[in-house]
Amino acid sequence: MLLIPCPNCGERDEGEFNYGGRARVFPPIEKTASVEDWHRSIHFASHEQGQVHEYWYHHGGCECWIEVKRNLHNHEIAAVNATRSDTDRSGT
């Protein structure tokens, strides 16, 4: 079980998180956007080994989505980023 360093809450057990899959391009939802882009995004996701970027959701803590850079060979976590800057969260 991984120990994920949440940028908001510190090191927390994997059990507090939901896995959100590999980080990927989220194509524009405009009608003009190509179907191919969406196919690439969700049906033809890359499955490279080694260092990958993933989304994790900290349901047991700050309820934030974070981006984790993890090595699939040894589970080493090289970097963690909050996915949203806090400046535009006024009003909550």
Binding site: M1, L3, I29, A33, I42, Y57, R84, D88
Partner: protein, 902 residues
């Protein structure tokens, strides 16, 4: 009277004598004894029968590597706990232990006759013998094998013991509190680290406490004493004895079980350590020779432990077959100390050719290099092939797989009958040979084919012999053969310990709606629905469930009913971009929604399939409340957050999960409007003031703030009254009280389901199953064509527009006195038992409709929207029947919707 107990010495408390029972026989031992040492002290050498051949077995070791001495013990609640190692059971007053795997008794065991057929019971016996005919498996073979196979029996009573589960963290975790572990712990403590020192033994100090080096004049003990004092004085070291670290996982996670002899039975520890030091020592390996399994054959270090630690004299006349000279000398010293006569030693180039003795070793036959046979009369044979480093915990995370043996020396493996490489699973050398001859020479194959190392001891005393035999037989280097993949647990851990306190009600947290206590007063029968405890139905007197549900449905259709809707997910959405956001999330048109109005809305996944449905209510400008289904509310909440945090951070939207903030009670039925008016809300209640699909905010009775939504799941005029959760009790009582004149009837999930199926409304999990599009579900006209939303792109896929897809329809039986079977498959022709047909669809929901007076169902049918009035058959192979059905619209009741607009 303990015949084989030494006069003095040992780490036992001679002042507290303990009575215990073995196979009903009363015996005594001392506090500090294990069951094994107490049995040896009482001269009991045969304690078990082996699993396959029912061979007499004794005690081989003094620790968790014990393969032979498996016993069943009776716990406090009277349950029989099987397959405990006698070397791990601490002696307790009144302990009742039983030998296993024998009938009628340990000495006279009918199963031992199997030894006569041993040549037919070789490796792979089951695979080869019970191949044909295949139908023989379930009928004959399985039953037969289950009768004979297995070790020990479990009593089926509930485990009454207490278990706990705890977490801790430390800088350095040292596993193994022998001399090496102590040194490591003290060193880490000196660096100001927080240290946890664990050992599965009851004493800290490991073998250095009693395993004296010959000629050591007490220096070792002096050293240890000093270190133990230092350990005690170091404030940053925590010592945990009786704690088995059984698994190592990623990021420094180690799982351990701490055993207690009183109170809590065991504690399951999750330890996170920054650094882990394995000081787990080594395990001595037995020698392989014919008849190497008799009671009286014991590992050399175990012999020394029984003598020095437990003050037990393990035999009277001993023969030594110990490869390492230092070990041999130490063992000889110990035996002399205990007054055991040493009759001989296995010399260079000599091999043991046989052993004799029915229930206990009587003699050893040795062949010298020149072919001469020597016979030694003895009742104890101390064996040691060397030591195998105990690297399981590091191997579990993929390290050290090749380090099979530490300082072991090569010793050609013996052969011949009854040369066991694995005692617990009765695997002989000949089985390894046949496995290799049949092509199973990779160690992973050998393991599975012969079952070597698959017992509860996980082959702690058999890998060395197996590897050596494999190396010899295949001509490979000893060191080139890796061990099989090692997985936790290192040594058996009981399910009780793993479950901890998470049993029964504590297994999953229970969520109760704010109405729970008041629902209990109205004799509500509850059911679990996910985490929720949901009201199911409300029986009056001794009414059955079916009668109760019919009455509840009738009340909703003809008067008014009330139902708890608090479990629906609710999210408060605010911000300048709120409507933009919601418009992207839902596939239908909501952009022009006015304050005070609400709309049914459908959310799609990125691939165009329906994800969830619910309502969007506009409370004010830039302020919305959305609802989602109970089952999906966590997933939808996560998804909305992801969109805002990850994909569209530029949107000004704030989400608040308010599911638990409100108690939500729906009143549904023709009298709902008059009942609402009686509750004196601040706002007008007539049809023009409060039309269908609206939301009103105000006060009830001038004292409780509320939000009321006019929407309907049941197909009747309905108002969903939301009040702050703390007013749930008041609201419910008020509705019952004022509703008396209107015929109010509480109803639950069952009636709700009947009502929604009659109305043809969707439910998550049945119709919204992740494989259906809005078009499939008959909601195609809801999907907006001119706006951008999630799922729009991939909804363009031709395959999703195919009219041959499964589409939602209603079904009624052609003969309305017949029931449609639940979970049926749809076929074109009448189905009879045994027919093989292609399914053209499936039922998603079936009920006996009290309103329509016949069986009705919803179904996903190929090309369904174009097959109205066709007749098909609903076939259920499980119920072994089929019913002829006619395709109709999915909405069985009030298709025009005039009732809910009343």
């Amino acid at each position: 009277m303990q015949a084989s107990r030494l006069e003095s010495g040992g780490y036992i408390d001679r002042n507290s004598s303990i009575e215990f029972f073995f196979d009903g026989r009363s015996l005594t031992g001392y506090r500090g004894d294990t069951l094994a040492s107490a049995l040896l002290a009482n001269n009991v050498s045969m304690v078990a029968r082996s699993i396959k051949y029912h061979r007499p077995r004794g005690i081989l070791s003094a620790g968790l590597e014990e393969p032979n001495a498996l016993v069943a013990c009776v716990d406090e609640a009277g349950n029989l706990i099987p397959n405990l190692k006698a070397t791990e059971v601490w002696l307790q007053p009144g302990l009742k232990a039983h030998s296993q795997n024998n009938w009628p008794c340990l000495k006279i065991d009918v199963g031992a006759l199997l030894q006569l057929f041993s040549r037919f019971l070789s490796a792979g016996f089951y695979y080869k013998t019970f191949m044909w005919p295949p139908s023989g498996w379930p009928r004959v073979y399985e039953k037969l094998i289950r009768q004979v196979a297995g070790q020990g029996r479990v009593t089926l009573g509930a485990d009454q013991k207490y278990y706990d589960r705890r977490q801790t963290r430390c800088d350095t975790l040292v596993i193994g509190a022998g001399s090496q572990g102590i040194v490591e712990a003290l060193a880490a403590s000196g660096r100001n680290e927080s240290v946890l020192l664990v050992d599965q033994d009851s004493r800290v100090g490991g073998s250095s406490q009693w395993d004296l080096q010959p000629g050591d004049a007490g220096n070792q003990q002096q050293w240890l004493k000093q270190k133990l004092i230092q350990l005690e004085q170091a404030s940053n070291i925590r010592c945990m004895a009786n704690t088995l670290a059984f698994g190592q996982y990623d990021h420094g996670l180690v799982l351990a079980v701490e055993q207690h002899t009183s109170g809590v039975h065991s504690i399951y520890w999750r330890i996170r350590a920054k650094r882990i030091v394995l000081a787990t020592g080594s395990i001595e390996q037995p020698l392989i020779f014919p008849g190497n399994d008799r009671p009286g054959i014991m590992l050399a270090a175990a012999t020394r432990q029984y003598i020095y630690r437990y003050a037990v004299k393990p035999g009277r006349r001993a023969f030594l077959a110990i490869i390492d000279p230092a070990d041999r000398a130490a063992t000889a010293t110990a035996l002399v100390h205990a007054g055991v006569e040493i009759v001989g030693e296995l010399g260079e180039g000599e091999v043991i050719s046989a052993t004799k003795g029915r229930y206990r070793l009587k003699m050893v036959c040795v062949f010298s290099r020149h072919g001469q046979q020597k016979i030694y009369q003895c009742d104890l044979l101390c064996v040691s092939a060397g030591w195998s480093r105990n690297s399981d915990l590091s191997a579990q995370i993929g390290k050290d797989r090749f380090e099979v043996a530490g300082n072991s020396q090569n010793q050609a493996h013996g052969g011949g009958a009854w040369s066991f490489v694995d005692y617990q699973n009765d695997v002989q050398c000949s089985d390894i040979e046949s496995a290799v001859h049949e092509g199973f020479s990779h160690v992973e194959h050998t393991k599975r084919y012969t079952t070597v190392g698959m017992g509860t001891d996980q082959g702690k005393t058999s890998w060395y012999g197996t590897t050596q035999a494999l190396a010899d037989l295949t001509g490979r280097q000893f060191g080139s053969i890796s061990r099989t993949t090692m997985r936790p647990p290192y040594s058996p851990v009981s399910f009780g310990a793993l479950a901890g306190a998470n049993t029964d009600q504590h297994m999953v947290p229970v969520r109760r709606s704010p109405f729970h206590s008041v629902l209990e007063k109205y004799r509500c029968v509850f059911q679990t629905s996910g985490e929720w405890l949901y009201s199911r139905y409300f029986p009056v007197a001794d009414e059955s469930m079916i009668d109760a549900v019919c009455r509840e449905v009738f009340a909703v259709r003809n008067a008014v009913g009330c139902v708890d809707m608090s479990t629906l997910g609710k999210v408060d959405v605010k911000g300048a971009d709120a409507i933009r956001f919601l418009s992207r999330v839902y596939c239908n048109d909501i952009e022009n929604i006015q304050a005070g109005r609400l709309r049914y809305a459908v959310m799609l996944r990125e691939d165009g399939m329906v994800f969830d449905d619910g309502t969007v209510s506009c409370l004010a400008e830039n302020h919305f409340l959305i609802t989602m289904t109970t089952a999906n509310s966590a997933a939808v909440w996560r998804w909305l957050n992801r969109l805002l945090q990850v994909h569209w951070p530029e949107l000004d939207v704030q989400l608040t999960l308010v599911t638990d903030h409100y108690a939500s009670l729906a009143i549904a039925g023709p009298n709902a409007r008059s009942l609402l008016a009686d509750m004196s809300p601040e706002f007008g209640c007539n049809r023009d003031d409060f039309p269908f699909a609206s939301v009103r905010t105000g006060w009830l009775d001038e004292k409780v703030s509320c939000r009321v939504f006019s929407l309907s799941y049941s197909g009747e005029l309905s108002f969903e009254i939301n009040v702050p959760a703390r007013h749930a009790h008041w609201l419910y009582q008020r509705v019952i009280e004022l509703g008396a004149d209107h015929g109010v009837t509480p109803y639950g999930l069952e009636a709700l389901d009947v009502l929604r199926i009659e109305k043809g409304h969707l439910a998550v999990g049945t119709e919204i199953d992740g494989r259906t599009t809005a078009q499939d579900l008959g909601l195609g006209n809801m999907v907006a064509t001119h706006k951008d939303y999630i799922g729009a792109s991939l909804l363009q896929r031709p395959v999703l527009k195919d009219t041959n897809r499964l589409q939602l329809v209603g079904l009624v039986p052609v003969d309305d006195t017949r029931d449609i079977p639940t979970g049926a498959q749809l076929v074109d022709r009448k189905w009879c038992a045994g027919d093989v047909m292609n399914s053209i669809g499936r039922m998603t929901a079936v009920i006996n409709s009290p309103t329509l007076g016949c069986s009705i169902g919803l179904a996903l049918l190929k090309h369904g929207h174009h097959r109205f009035q066709d007749t098909l058959w609903a076939a259920s192979p499980i119920e072994n029947r089929s019913t002829e059905v006619r395709v109709v619209d999915r909405c069985f009741y009030d298709p025009g919707g005039s009732r809910l607009r009343d």
